[in-house]
């Protein structure tokens, strides 16, 4: 299973990905760029602050083997299926 999350402006180091039971939680913080000059804002549309989001996972994943990468503000979490959940061919024996 692959989960892709858009997290522009979030430093990968500030990301926290955890799992408990079947819940995967992605949380972190986005800081506003600091302006040194006494600047005035014309627009402030971009949200900042802390965030957290949880998703329910199917039971059949092996969370111990999960991996995550973050490029261009997009987080990709990959969680392989558990061995037990993979489709299996059952051989039929004749008599």
């Amino acid at each position: 299973m692959v989960a892709i999350a858009e997290l522009p402006g979030v430093e990968p180091e500030s990301l926290n990905i955890s799992s408990q039971g079947r819940t995967l939680t992605i949380s972190g913080e986005r800081r506003r760029e600091s302006l040194t000059d006494s600047a005035g804002y014309h627009r402030r549309e971009r949200p900042y602050g802390e965030f957290s989001r949880s998703i329910q996972l199917p039971e059949t994943l092996d969370l111990a083997k999960a991996s995550a990468t973050c490029t261009a503000g997009v987080l990709t979490v990959r969680i392989p299926k558990a061995e037990a959940a993979k489709p299996r061919q059952i051989a039929v024996h004749g008599q």
Binding site: E33, Y48, G49, E50, C70
Partner: protein, 132 residues
């Protein structure tokens, strides 16, 4: 520790009106714009856009930002649930006189950072008052 406001996911707004030459859905990126004495600074949230996929054009005082998202990460995936994977497009009419030869742009963590320096004649000037 002071807790900042909480970020919640929000709906993206689709670009309306002008039609693009390249097909695909285009959304309006969130931006911050700040002005200092020397320049305008702009930040635009465009997650998934790398420095190679962003185009910035300043023509006739209209600043156009286009960001293309490489949908390659979705190849060989069958989506169970999706919210978005889109391109970005936004235009601004620039009131200040921008020195387009000195515009600086960079992409960092999916955020476009633009520095738009003002022309010398557009900068605020303090006028010395001479005494008698």
């Amino acid at each position: 520790m002071i807790r900042d406001q909480e970020i919640v996911t929000k709906e993206k707004q689709q670009v309306e009106g002008t039609e693009k030459t390249r097909p695909g859905r285009y959304f309006v990126p969130d931006v911050d714009i700040a002005e200092t004495d020397d320049m305008l600074r702009l930040w635009a949230d465009m997650p998934g856009v790398t420095d190679k996929d962003v185009e910035i054009v300043l023509k006739d005082n209209v600043l156009t930002i286009t960001g293309m998202v490489d949908a390659g990460i979705y190849n060989q995936l069958s989506p169970v649930y999706t919210e978005y994977n889109v391109n970005y497009y936004r235009q601004f009419a620039m009131h200040e006189h921008i020195d387009d030869s000195r515009i600086k742009a960079r992409m960092r963590n999916g955020v476009l950072e633009l520095e738009l320096p003002k022309r010398e004649e557009a900068k605020p000037r303090r006028i010395q008052v001479e005494g008698e």
